[in-house]
């Protein structure tokens, strides 16, 4: 719903931007982690440019598919080669 100039703040403000904006829908390829092979070095966690890789309570890698855009950086940096980019169905 478009707002009038009087109703808008003096600059555009966003109190919740990337959290509610589900950029995962942009993805055409998705990372799949082989948890058996993964030694939990967390290099992918550090490199993910969208903060879409989390670490769960057991220390395992958890991909946030709501926000992962499928860039493939995690696959490229994984020293164990245990992240594979597969085509979205």
């Amino acid at each position: 719903m478009a707002k009038s100039v009087e109703d808008l703040p003096y600059i555009p403000l966003m109190s919740e931007s990337s959290a509610v904006n589900k950029t995962g829908v942009w993805r055409v390829i998705k990372p799949i982690v082989d948890q058996e092979e993964c030694n939990q070095c967390y290099i992918c966690w550090k490199f993910c440019p969208d903060v879409a890789i989390h670490i769960d309570e057991e220390g395992s890698i958890l991909i946030d598919y709501d926000h992962c855009k499928g860039c493939g950086i995690c696959e490229a940096v994984c020293p164990k080669k245990c992240i594979e980019m597969v085509k979205e169905e």
């Binding site: 003096y10 600059i11 403000l13 966003m14 931007s17």
Partner: protein, 394 residues
């Protein structure tokens, strides 16, 4: 009050110090370098409580000031010529984000040909970025205007950044007596910056993200309105300054011997001081001439210019820059303002002092004679241009 003797560049630095700027991010460039040197000294000695951020370019200097200002800190930088041009993108970000940054710009010619001397082409090229532009004629005015500019820029009806200009070398490197006001008086005049919104980890917010066509126009209108509203604030702040410190710098336009004047020149910066000498000489000969000094170019003082048009028959506009394609910017804006005015006197553009060419009083007297006689000979004249027929060449 303590008097000091200082350059225009020291006046910039002491203005920032007295305004209690909290973040200074700058990159050195002739003729601005001594502003940054002085500020670095003041911060290193502990005399000035500020973060001094060394950066690798002017683009980064402005980016650092934008970030600092967005957290609610008072930010200052200074630059000149190509440094200002390199900042161009960030200038638009600062204004669009409505951040009241104050920047000294030491007006210097744009290359090529390579030049380090006084010329307004650098700041005129940034006219449309949404920054207020103040042009100073003395070191005193530089110091006072840096402080005034924060008060104007931080006003919640304004919230747009401001450039404080001074002429390369004529002001930046020459010494003049300057009254340095006591810190406590400046503190009374300029309270700490109180931003309506700021970056705060306890209240996260995203500033100035993507806006679709539904609202972009409305946000741009808000900048336009803020610039309009700044006129009143600039005037009021200068009046308040006069009450507190005993000197005014004329608000938007400073008038000199305009009473009963038949002809006037419009000029800015240090050539205005020369113009006053020329006007005094002409007045001694009974010629009724005056000066309207453009202290502020953005917002453009069209009401003040229309008032002058009511009073005189002829106006000469002196431009120390040129907009390739049509006239100097002070001229085209003056002529534009007068089209809507009921009285439209004879107006002519004199392009003068380009690239730091000296402007002696006799040149301004020569222009005033032409303005008085409404001498035609075209809309724009490059005054003092060396041609094959001119005496200095042969």
């Amino acid at each position: 009050m303590p008097m000091d003797v200082m350059t225009g560049n020291s006046a910039q630095a002491y203005g920032a110090k007295l305004a209690r700027a909290e973040v200074v991010a700058a990159y050195p460039i002739t003729p601005q370098t001594t502003v940054v040197e002085k500020l670095a000294d003041l911060v290193a000695s502990g005399e000035m409580k500020a973060q001094f951020i060394k950066v690798e370019s002017e683009h980064s200097a402005m980016a650092a000031c934008i970030a600092a200002s967005a957290t609610g800190a008072r930010a200052y930088t200074a630059t000149a010529a190509h440094g200002l041009a390199l900042m161009h993108e960030m200038l638009i970000w600062a204004a669009g984000s409505r951040l009241p940054i104050v920047m000294g710009n030491i007006n210097r010619a744009m290359a090529p040909p390579w030049s380090v001397w006084a010329d307004y082409q650098d700041s005129i090229a940034e006219r449309d970025t949404g920054w207020m532009q103040f042009y100073c004629q003395s070191s005193q005015e530089v110091l006072d205007t840096v402080i005034q500019a924060y008060k104007v820029a931080e006003n919640h009806d304004v919230l747009i950044p401001a450039m404080v200009m001074e002429d390369a070398f004529y002001l930046s490197h020459t010494f003049e007596p300057v009254d340095v006001p006591p810190q406590k008086d400046v503190d009374d005049f300029l309270p700490p910056y109180d931003p309506p919104v700021k970056l705060d980890v306890d209240n996260p917010v995203g500033l100035c993200a993507l806006v679709p066509p539904d609202h972009y126009m409305e946000f741009r209108f808000k900048i336009a309105k803020a610039m309009e509203d700044s006129r009143k604030v600039i005037q009021e702040v200068d009046e308040e300054w006069e009450k507190k410190f005993g000197r005014s710098h004329g608000g938007l336009v400073e008038r000199y011997r305009m009473e009963d004047a038949d002809a006037a020149i419009i000029a800015a910066g240090t050539m205005s001081s020369t113009a006053r000498v020329a006007i005094d000489n002409m007045r001694d000969k009974g010629k009724k001439v005056g000066l309207a000094r453009l202290r502020v170019f953005r917002p453009f003082p069209y009401e003040e210019i229309r008032q002058i048009a009511k009073e005189v028959d002829s106006i000469g506009v002196l431009d120390r820059s040129y907009t390739f394609g049509h006239g100097g910017a002070f001229y085209t804006e003056t002529a534009g303002a007068l089209y809507q005015a009921p009285e439209r006197p004879h107006v002519k553009n004199y392009v003068i002092g380009i690239g730091g060419r000296d402007i002696p009083p006799k040149d301004i007297e020569g222009i005033l004679e032409k303005v008085l006689t409404k001498e035609d000979g075209g809309e724009v004249e490059w005054f003092g241009l060396r041609t094959s027929g001119s005496r200095e060449v042969n």
